[in-house]
Symmetry: C2
Subunit: 412 residues, 2 copies
């Protein structure tokens, strides 16, 4: 089968793992040498000592909130970029604002692979309805389409009637954009009595893409595939004709960690998506915490792509909340657990019976480990400055949903 973007996709997983482990110390060394923020953050880390996943798991995770704060005190990129004006091709602004550089490398955001899996090929015309203004989505998909050898119509957002007319006149074979805007365009075409038979495929992103929407597109002859990408990282994972989860991009290392920590969770458990682009020179983010929740989907894709698969977007990991006026962070819950080796998984449940905030730490004890609730209560007070109760749960009893703080308060 010749339906792969390159031979990396079908590598023996052990060969991929060896290549990743060989690249991690190089990429970390590059980040340390070229980006001042990483020089400081990794001052005590010797890249040469990163020789295993266990060693890698001790490299600090950088979360989006930290990046935002760094950028505020050091414009434009908070010391995390290895590029500047004249070297970067473009610079973007995402809500925050948070600024993202785009390097001059071909297919910088690595979206060509996802477009290929969705059926886009050289010689296609792609109608791109992501915005080109401020945020990088439009450019991400366009540079990927160009790398594949497609011509791009930059439709952007809005102007629905003109989008219909351009599709009718230019006859693109594929749509790129959010699934909701594609639905709006198709419904407007129905209303105008205009057929759009040229559209055979779609790469959608930026929103949920449930099976019902995929089926509705299929009924119109459009095969829709989704991609998971972020403004900081570019492509993370993409759907393939196998339709089983999303396959991880060959250009990144993807880890699922316990929210608030850098600790990988067991395979299959829901946690935060942490990503390291393996060879991005201009913006070498290392263990970047996306704030998104997902989980590894066990097994291998029938499409022949041998990389790790994930289940898609399962929510947001940043469960920071306010209790009695004080912030409580997932990293504080992780710190409590760390002081008590007897605790396996834990979840801080916040409710307000009678209108008053209450915190209860639900803990799964590991094996038969003894667990003294009173000392855990003391740790909770020490770390959060708040009073909390402790409730022991059976191993495996807490739901696998990535939640570390579960806010159940009601205000009616």
């Amino acid at each position: 089968m010749n339906d792969h973007f390159d031979t990396l996709e079908t590598r023996d997983p052990e060969a991929r793992e060896r290549a990743i482990l060989a690249q991690l110390p190089r990429q970390l060394a590059h980040a340390k040498a070229a980006a001042p923020a990483y020089a400081a953050l990794f001052a005590q880390i010797d890249p040469a000592a990163i020789d295993s996943r266990a060693a890698w798991a001790r490299v600090p995770v950088t979360r989006k909130s930290a990046l935002l704060e760094s950028q505020r005190s050091a414009r434009p990129f908070g010391g995390f970029a290895a590029t500047g004006w004249g070297e970067a091709r473009r610079v973007f602004a995402s809500p925050g604002p948070i600024y993202e550089p785009e390097g001059r490398a071909n297919d910088y955001w690595r979206l060509a692979r996802a477009l290929f899996a969705a059926g886009f090929r050289a010689g296609d015309l792609a109608h791109n309805c992501f915005s080109y203004h401020f945020t990088p989505a439009g450019s991400m998909l366009e540079t990927g389409a160009h790398a594949l050898g497609c011509t791009v119509f930059p439709g952007g957002t809005g102007q629905t009637e003109q989008q219909v007319q351009a599709i009718a006149d230019l006859r693109p074979s594929g749509y790129i954009g959010t699934p909701s805007f594609l639905r709006i365009i198709l419904e407007k075409a129905d209303e105008m009595g205009v057929a759009l038979p040229s559209l055979k495929r779609a790469l959608v992103s930026g929103e949920a893409f449930p099976a019902s929407q995929r089926d509705a597109l299929a009924a119109r002859g459009i095969a829709g595939y989704q991609a998971y990408a972020t403004a900081d990282l570019g492509l993370i994972a993409y759907e393939t004709p196998a339709r089983e989860g999303l396959v991880v991009d060959e250009g990144v290392l993807l880890e699922i960690v316990r929210p608030g920590t850098g600790d990988p969770v067991p395979a299959g458990e829901v946690g935060e998506v942490v990503v390291t682009p393996l060879s991005t020179v201009d913006y070498p983010l290392i263990r970047f915490g996306t704030g998104d929740l997902s989980a590894v989907l066990p097994g291998t894709s029938p499409c022949g792509r041998s990389n790790l698969r994930i289940k898609g977007w399962l929510g947001r990991a940043d469960q920071t909340t306010k209790v009695k006026g004080m912030f409580v962070h997932p990293s504080q819950v992780a710190a409590i657990v760390q002081r008590h080796p007897g605790i396996g998984r834990a979840r801080l449940v916040v409710d307000n019976p009678g209108g008053a905030d209450r915190m209860t730490l639900h803990v799964e004890a590991e094996g038969d480990a003894a667990l003294d609730a009173a000392t855990v209560v003391a740790t909770i007070r020490d770390i959060t400055k708040l009073r909390g109760e402790v409730l022991r749960r059976a191993p495996g009893e807490l739901p696998n949903d990535g939640k570390v703080i579960d806010d159940q308060r009601k205000y009616d």
Copy 2:
């Protein structure tokens, strides 16, 4: 002085003329060979016979209205393009709709030269407020800035407060966009109490840029320069620090013709801007009538650029009007004049004394040539199917404003 984009700008004008005359037959041969519409239009023209401006002046002018009609009957480019999906980098839609391909050549639209003259240099950050969606303006300026070695922030249109914030945070040295949107951004910054001291220069286009606006920008420390470009052709002419008219781009042949014809007017006379890109492979427009009026500005620019200068935009050439319910085109006025060698310049004045439409052809007789008004009236009826009177004017008496049809009707 090292303040030129390249040595083409300061060539001996005779060397430029020789280079243009050598290129015209090649470009015409390419258009004939690669674009079916030109193969038909130029069937009787031997490119090798194009050895002078006089010979070139007999090559038919293609006007935007004709292009629009050709595109309607043969999507996407009406047979005028030598490119297709996969070869073109982008395709755009301008109001009409009329579609424009963008080739993969570096600086395809040739805007780098105008940006350079406006002071943009490698290493600059340029804040680009032309839209990237549908129309090519955003891409035109961005590809030019990339060719110069600038980084681009794609601000696009709207979102004024966020534009101010991005300029304050990223500190671009230059703005690109319409002059009116720059004024809106600067006034919003005043209102927000945000200083934007990084902005030192601006390349503006798409609207009139009167001296009053240029002075208002200068008072804020921003040197504003204008460029004249169209969606079909890219850069046509650009302002230089000499501030005397606009210097013609080195990549085009610019002619000023009598509206409705392909006949060059004497230097200094107002007429329609007709442009031939000299080496555009993908979309080899030949003698493309822009519909804009301008005139040659005599003399040479003190900035050292030796190319022809024009006065800037002086109105629209397409003066097609309706008289007693019948369309009258400038080309019909030209046809009347052509049948009477005694006529020099002519202008069809339309008025409506007492509420009834009336046509009067004002003619300047050449030298002492005899001119029989009755036969001219017969020609008017023959060509326009309408009755018209003839009024003889002294040579030089008709105003130099490019008007061929002057509609003076009043409806109150």
